[in-house]
Assembly symmetry: C2
């Protein structure tokens, strides 16, 4: 049988005092005499006493745990956000429970429910690509559990958000692609029901308008993963002769497209300039380096938990929803050099 870790009442029995006395002694309650306090503390240290977080959570209605739901752990952006979250959360005594939705609405809903069941004190969420229905998210606010959305936010819910200035970033990087003689930029876009998809598309569009470039619809295709690039291979190669630039909604898609075009004989950046989004470390390591938008995942993560923890620390205060927008910084590399 398991060596039961010492509980408060074990200590109380051993010392011939009441559990409440032990409890008070351990948390330095002023009423307790120094003598008993020391006696309790010493004994507790000797038997390696540790408070049971489950019991504490049940008692205080506060689990000191925050729930996180993201699409995919293995993407650099998300793992760096997570890293930032974990860093801050731990330093403040919170633990994190992490779930992946795998970009699936049903799993996202199950994850949210599981986290609610575990009585998380708050949640940090980046919604899945297939999240077109928000019942599970409303359930969180119904229970008045604070949520902060990051990157892939849910516009239908009034809550704190942390995001990148997607519109401006997309506008700036498309504008940069158009600096030379380029006129026809292919946009590999994210689903338009996601705010990031819309914002980046509209930023792209604005840049085209500003430069009086070609805004043909055929230049925008829904394609946001390497797999999609391979699937749309023929389609992209058919367009290739008529384009001189590509702006993809993320880096790995941009790189996959770049390789596709290079393998088909196009010179990058001479014939076609390429730009991505996110500044995945890979982008600085390939040759030519991929021009992209820096997205400070780690800092966004820290910022998102910080917002959340503030709400947790002062639950009464009716603070209106806050929006934090991280400015976009272009990372210009060789893939977009002027033609």
């Amino acid at each position: 049988m398991k060596p039961h870790p010492a509980s408060i009442s074990d200590i109380a029995k051993a010392l011939g005092v009441a559990p409440s006395t032990v409890s008070r002694a351990l948390r330095d309650h002023p009423d307790i005499s120094p003598a008993t306090r020391n006696r309790v503390k010493e004994f507790a240290a000797r038997v390696n006493y540790r408070p049971n977080a489950l019991a504490l959570g049940l008692k205080h209605q506060r689990s000191m745990t925050i729930g996180i739901v993201i699409p995919e752990l293995v993407h650099f952006f998300f793992s760096s956000v997570l890293s930032g979250i974990e860093e801050v959360a731990y330093s403040k005594g919170y633990r994190v429970m992490i779930c992946q939705s795998a970009d699936d609405l049903k799993r996202e809903a199950l994850n949210v429910q599981a986290l609610l069941d575990h009585q998380v004190d708050g949640m940090l969420i980046s919604i899945s690509k297939s999240t077109v229905e928000y019942g599970h998210l409303f359930r969180i606010v119904d229970r008045e559990i604070p949520v902060v959305f990051f990157d892939r936010v849910c516009d239908e819910i009034d809550s704190d958000r942390v995001l990148t200035d997607d519109f401006e970033a997309a506008r700036a990087i498309t504008s940069h692609l158009l600096q030379g003689s380029r006129k026809r930029i292919l946009h590999l876009a994210a689903p338009q029901h996601l705010a990031i998809g819309r914002e980046r598309y509209h930023g792209y569009l604005r840049a085209l308008q500003d430069h009086e470039a070609d805004t043909a619809d055929e230049l925008v295709i829904h394609c946001d993963t390497p797999d999609k690039v391979r699937e749309l291979r023929e389609h992209i190669l058919n367009l290739a002769p008529s384009i001189d630039g590509v702006f993809a909604v993320n880096d790995i898609t941009a790189i996959t497209a770049m390789h596709l075009l290079q393998d088909a004989g196009y010179a990058v950046p001479e014939q076609i300039g390429i730009a991505g989004f996110g500044d995945d470390p890979i982008s600085g390591m390939i040759r030519p380096g991929l021009t992209t938008v820096e997205q400070k995942g780690y800092d966004m993560g820290k910022s998102a938990v910080t917002m959340l923890l503030e709400r947790l620390e002062l639950p009464e205060k009716e603070v209106p929803s806050r929006l934090e927008v991280f400015p976009a910084t272009l990372k210009i590399r060789d893939s977009s050099r002027k033609p």
Copy 2:
């Protein structure tokens, strides 16, 4: 104030029955009459009843939560292991608590303690680079909490492990580098107090011996991160004229070294062949592609949780510690083509 979610006793009161009846009805206890069972279930569904995982955990001494401690979330290998873990754990009704040690012994120890405090049912651990003292790990086995170590295992503790066949992988890839006329291979090694460091070094050494290549000590340097490569820049460049191959303990280090050498005018693979370890996605995307060893992180993760869950499901059974070794598969790419 918060809208308190319905509890079993709330339901009991509303329906005029005892809490135990509600509890039994909800879990389909045979004693309960179909009539009351339905009445309870319907009402529970209507008020959106959900069991409180904290209370359950406290009651059953079983939190349905597993703790994970890894060095760094943002490394592809670890995030893919995690992804595999999460996948299986969730499907079996377990949640995961994740901590990063940041390769720091003290943080690792704090993390382990925090997870114990949270009454995790088991742990999955990959130890930090600076873990040279194991008190915190022994505390886990003292409490008879099952642990599975993966990749960076702790030899001093008798427990389940999941790892790559590091020795054989290192031997094979070094041997591959030596196929042509290569004779002097630089090894960028991990710390030797880590089993993976030792195994990969010894595999490298064995290959050198098999091929009667140069086994000079100066050809082995402790260098396992891009930062270390930059720090040891001069040292590596001094060695460069005399070497014709590099085997690094991980891919990003290999790539950083490759770029360093290329920038200094060395041709890869013509003058110097390069190989890494881990098959980070980046390795297939750079040109020349990096020759490396496939490390099935996702599968290792699944395998590790599966072992752990087996122990959790049959705690009495005295199963001896198991060791699962994933075979090494070489990924030969252009960075190591025969000279």
